[in-house]
């Protein structure tokens, strides 16, 4: 008895050979080969037992855990929010956000949690965290625009309903990372051809809306005194790092962009009007629509996981990184504007620039265990600067 025979017997038993010549041959073999027939009987009995065990497992059901539901709901909400057109109808006279979300007014709306980013107009567009914004009462029908519209303006009340803001923040970022790293290779292969629509959605993200941190993997071995370099880079929005992974080619958008090559992080100051439109997408109706006053610097460096320094591979995964950022946010609240897969004093480390919700910024160095269960942020160093 061999593998092949056992598997053929299994096929025969399971009906996979029904109607084929192989079925006929197997039937003949079983009729003439007692050893095979005996083996077949054993297999049938054992399969029955295994199937019964599977039945026992099938009876153990578990609904989706609440935290997973929250995470996925928030991810969808962020996606809906990002895709939603007309969120920032240029009605405001030069304001970055026509309807600043009520900073800190948690629970003031029926939609997903908000971060009070727009309370800081100078830094709002640096939002390292995608904010699931609420625009209570400001979205009349007039906000619906035909131009470039794929999504209605109704925020995902259904899917954003009860998500705590911290969850939305973390998961939203996860979506961003996910999108960057091109991992949605699931069945539909939708990622490659539609990534642009998420990253450079039809709507220029206005200040305080979804943004992405500058994501680098310079491999730099930082020391305390060199940490400000990353902060400066994040601040300048430059990606001068020689080994930066960024692929700015992913930022088409022609004349809509304000020349500044840097995506993500800090980018334009409020009101400057950086506008990244989805001109790469056939769905984008009007590449010239970038004249809106949204101030978001969008666009996201894409990352090649292969360039992540050894020891940090885990953190290159979207959820791991999102968990890490959440862990970092606990002691260092604010928006992460840059993430560098690098090292610190010779050890693999993720270096993050956190723009505080108040004035100032912090450079935080975390180890490979950042965000892992029980590890917290695995913080190695932090410096104001």
């Amino acid at each position: 008895m061999t593998d092949v025979d056992l598997e053929q017997l299994a096929d025969y038993l399971g009906g996979a050979l029904d109607g084929t010549e192989a079925q006929h041959q197997m039937r003949e073999r079983l009729a003439t080969d007692p050893a095979l027939a005996s083996r077949y009987a054993e297999l049938a009995a054992a399969t029955e037992s295994a199937t019964a065990d599977l039945g026992a497992l099938a009876a153990v059901t578990e609904p989706m855990p609440q935290e997973v539901t929250a995470r996925l709901t928030a991810a969808l909400a962020a996606l809906a929010d990002h895709d939603a057109p007309g969120r920032h109808e240029p009605t405001g006279a030069g304001t970055a956000t026509g309807s600043p979300a009520p900073a800190g007014s948690a629970g003031s709306t029926g939609t997903a949690g908000t971060r009070p980013a727009s309370g800081y107009p100078q830094t709002g567009q640096r939002a390292g965290y995608p904010q699931v914004k609420a625009h209570p009462g400001t979205r009349g029908p007039g906000n619906r625009r035909g131009q470039g519209s794929r999504r209605g303006t109704r925020r995902a009340a259904a899917i954003g309903g009860a998500i705590a803001s911290v969850c939305a923040v973390v998961v939203g970022f996860s979506v961003a990372v996910h999108t960057m790293s091109g991992q949605d290779r699931a069945a539909t292969s939708s990622a490659a051809d539609t990534r642009g629509s998420l990253l450079h959605g039809e709507q220029p993200p206005a200040a305080g809306s979804i943004g992405y941190p500058l994501r680098l993997a310079t491999g730099t071995d930082y020391r305390p005194e060199t940490l400000p370099e990353l902060a400066a880079r994040a601040s300048a929005g430059a990606q001068a790092g020689a080994n930066a992974l960024d692929e700015t080619k992913a930022l088409p958008g022609g004349g809509n962009r304000s020349g500044q090559p840097s995506p993500g992080a800090s980018g334009a100051s409020a009101g400057k009007g950086t506008s990244v439109s989805g001109a790469d997408s056939a769905e984008a109706a009007g590449p010239g629509s970038g004249a809106r006053p949204g101030a978001g610097a969008a666009g996201t460096p894409l990352q090649s996981p292969a360039q992540v320094p050894a020891g940090l591979e885990r953190l290159s995964g979207q959820s791991a990184l999102a968990a890490c950022l959440a862990a970092v946010a606990a002691p260092h609240p604010g928006s992460v504007t840059a993430v560098d897969f690098a090292s610190f004093r010779g050890n693999p480390a993720l270096v993050l620039v956190v723009e505080s919700t108040g004035p100032g910024r912090t450079v935080v160095v975390v180890g490979p265990a950042c965000g892992a269960a029980g590890a917290g942020a695995d913080e190695r160093y932090a410096a104001i600067g």
Partner: protein, 208 residues
């Protein structure tokens, strides 16, 4: 802002998907709500790890969200969603599965190790551990058919393969499971030497 509750949506799955494509930002969330627990069960059982299951689901939902316009209605919306989820799981499983599939004749039961490691183990735990030893394709098929109760035809639609292939994967998966669970002794060492090392034997799925 519409305050309409989303949990009472009377629209069909297909109508919801169409509404989503047309710009209704609540529609996809409703679809997710509707299929949520089944999607979770499918992902968790297929991939066997909660974190990975959540990651795979997120991948899948984002893909589905954005690929909705390409849904042609050739299958039920649920089937389409499950397919995306299963593929996202398989994708992850293949990526992390560095070692090749052990030939069936060399499979060792997991029961003894399990009993040593988990004195209080129950059947479900043992079957779960055994399932993790199956090749991803066999496992996905078994999860769909034997755990989730899909008819073979629907499992075939979800997996995107012929029904005979589903039957074969299930049958071989059960046989492997039977060995892993100690119900079937392996005689591969008796006379299977010549074929035990034959590559690809466990991946031969063709069945007419």
């Amino acid at each position: 802002m519409s305050g309409a509750p989303a949990d009472q949506d009377a629209r069909s799955d297909q109508e919801l998907l169409a509404a989503h494509v047309a710009g209704d930002t609540t529609a996809f969330g409703e679809l997710f709500e509707r299929h949520r627990d089944r999607l979770w069960a499918l992902a968790l059982r297929t991939i066997g790890d909660r974190e990975e299951a959540a990651d795979a689901l997120q991948d899948a939902l984002i893909s589905a969200y954005r690929a909705a316009a390409r849904f042609r209605g050739e299958s039920a919306v649920g089937t389409w969603m499950y397919r995306i989820v299963v593929n996202a799981c398989l994708d992850r499983m293949r990526r992390r599965r560095a070692r090749p599939t052990v030939p069936l004749s060399e499979v060792e039961p997991v029961t003894a190790a399990m009993a040593a490691a988990e004195p209080d183990h129950d059947t479900a735990m043992m079957v779960t551990a055994a399932l993790e030893q199956l090749p991803p394709e066999q496992r996905a098929a078994l999860v769909l058919v034997d755990l989730e109760g899909y008819p073979v035809a629907e499992a075939a639609a979800v997996l995107g393969v012929a029904q005979g292939t589903v039957k074969s994967r299930c049958a071989r998966g059960r046989a492997r499971l039977a060995v892993l669970l100690g119900y079937l002794r392996n005689r591969g060492d008796a006379d299977g030497v010549s074929t035990a090392s034959r590559p690809g034997t466990t991946r031969t799925e063709g069945c007419g």
